[in-house]
Subunit: 262 residues, 2 copies
């Protein structure tokens, strides 16, 4: 064992397990990041404040340099068995970190930037995958309606594969956001809109993605300036919300960032 | 209770629970389809043979017409509690059907059709979402390498949202498949390929998607005629496999089925 590392108490195990639930995360202002790769990314990112780390010896040794700036009493060397007791994963992976909720500065919307607005996205895997996809396409800010799955849900965090640390998530009324920024174009994925491939995108704007089961809510739909449909050739009735987001972001990127005659 | 419906025995409950596991599905040649919407789709599809249905009264009443062609001793009216005992879902939904493995006829590859080849896709949610996306884009045949997650895994079936009944899945050596069809173009998603948006697609061909953690295996990579990369503007290291599939299928569809000058 490295010097000074503290062990884990039964009370701590209980307290971490409580953070699997949204209520306790919101109360304590802490969320969970797990696994070798995710925590390595976290350690590189100065904008998130780490409360404590619970790690097997292996990871502590490997990351000793990155860990040296943390207070030694916040680093806990634990066994695989103890990790299993606190982990949210089916296959726990070396390390679990408790991280403080990010403090988000007030945001100023920029007309030339792309933003994704998520209306009532309930599935944590979908939200996480959308964050990862947004990060791929250089979209660094996402707005979630208050009905969306809580964004520090462990399944969200893990599905982002590290993009959680780079893409800023705000929870707010999407209608209010759109009304406060009337000059921005508002695209929305609907089943009865204009053919995506015949749509013309502006450099920046809002892309609204509706819920997995009900699509975009009526109040928001009325605020769309462009209703877009991904044309279907086959028989599927709908696309997964994260898939629809990715296809539209790809076409938007193609038109704006890689436009060429074809 | 409707006439003639049989109840469920403890032995049946045990036998259905065994089908949650691949080994028993392969041995018995049966897999599970669950939920009101999925089973309604199944009942419309004559190409799958239903072994038995375990349903709450509600669904039986609602679907009595669609159920009338099934042998009455294959229909079991059960309680919500019994459904919970056999279900693979966190929130069981009215009905569970046992279905015989589809018998796939030998396939003749057509040069003008699009095919997706999945190399070592392990996540059932990914495979299910890929099937749903393929169905959306009119791609009706998928080839899985033998290392892929077993295609009748309940999480695969449920994630397809009904597309499971329309998209044919074959498990085979992808290398052998490509070598047997040397005239087809073989596209592959890699991290060091040609810009997707500058690639030119043929009408038909094979699209190879690699595993979530290792990408396309070396042997297969050597068989690609076009290495394609989805350009990234942001920081994410990779995309989810189902997202990458969707983005490439969308661009392929745009070029072939919706080409216009832009």
């Amino acid at each position: 064992m490295l010097n000074n590392q503290v062990l884990i108490s039964k009370a701590q195990i209980k307290s971490i397990r409580l953070l699997h639930d949204k209520k306790h995360r919101l109360e304590q202002g802490l969320f969970i990041v797990e696994g070798e790769k995710m925590v390595a990314e976290l350690l590189k990112d100065a904008s998130f404040k780490i409360d404590s780390i619970f790690s097997t010896e292996d990871f502590l040794t490997k990351q000793s340099k990155a860990l040296k700036d943390l207070a030694s009493d916040s680093i806990h060397q634990i066994s695989e068995k103890e990790l299993g007791q606190i982990s949210t994963l089916q296959t726990p992976n070396k390390v679990l970190a408790l991280v403080q909720f990010p403090k988000r500065a007030d945001i100023k919307i920029q007309a030339k930037k792309k933003y994704i607005l998520l209306d009532n996205i309930k599935d944590p895997g979908n939200l996480g995958t959308i964050l990862r996809t947004a990060d791929w396409f250089g979209i660094d800010t996402i707005f979630c309606s208050p009905e969306c799955v809580e964004s520090t849900n462990p399944k969200v965090v893990q599905a982002t594969m590290g993009s959680f640390f780079r893409v800023k998530i705000y929870s707010c009324s999407l209608e209010a956001l759109i009304k406060q920024n009337p000059s921005l174009t508002v695209y929305g994925a609907v089943l009865e809109g204009e053919n995506l491939y015949e749509s013309t995108f502006e450099t920046g704007g809002f892309l609204v993605i509706g819920s997995e089961s009900h699509g975009i809510s009526e109040g928001l739909k009325a605020l769309l300036t462009h209703q877009i449909k991904i044309p279907n050739i086959g028989m599927a009735e709908s696309l997964n919300a994260s898939i629809a987001t990715a296809i539209i972001c790809s076409e938007w990127t193609r038109q704006i960032d890689f436009r060429k005659k074809d």
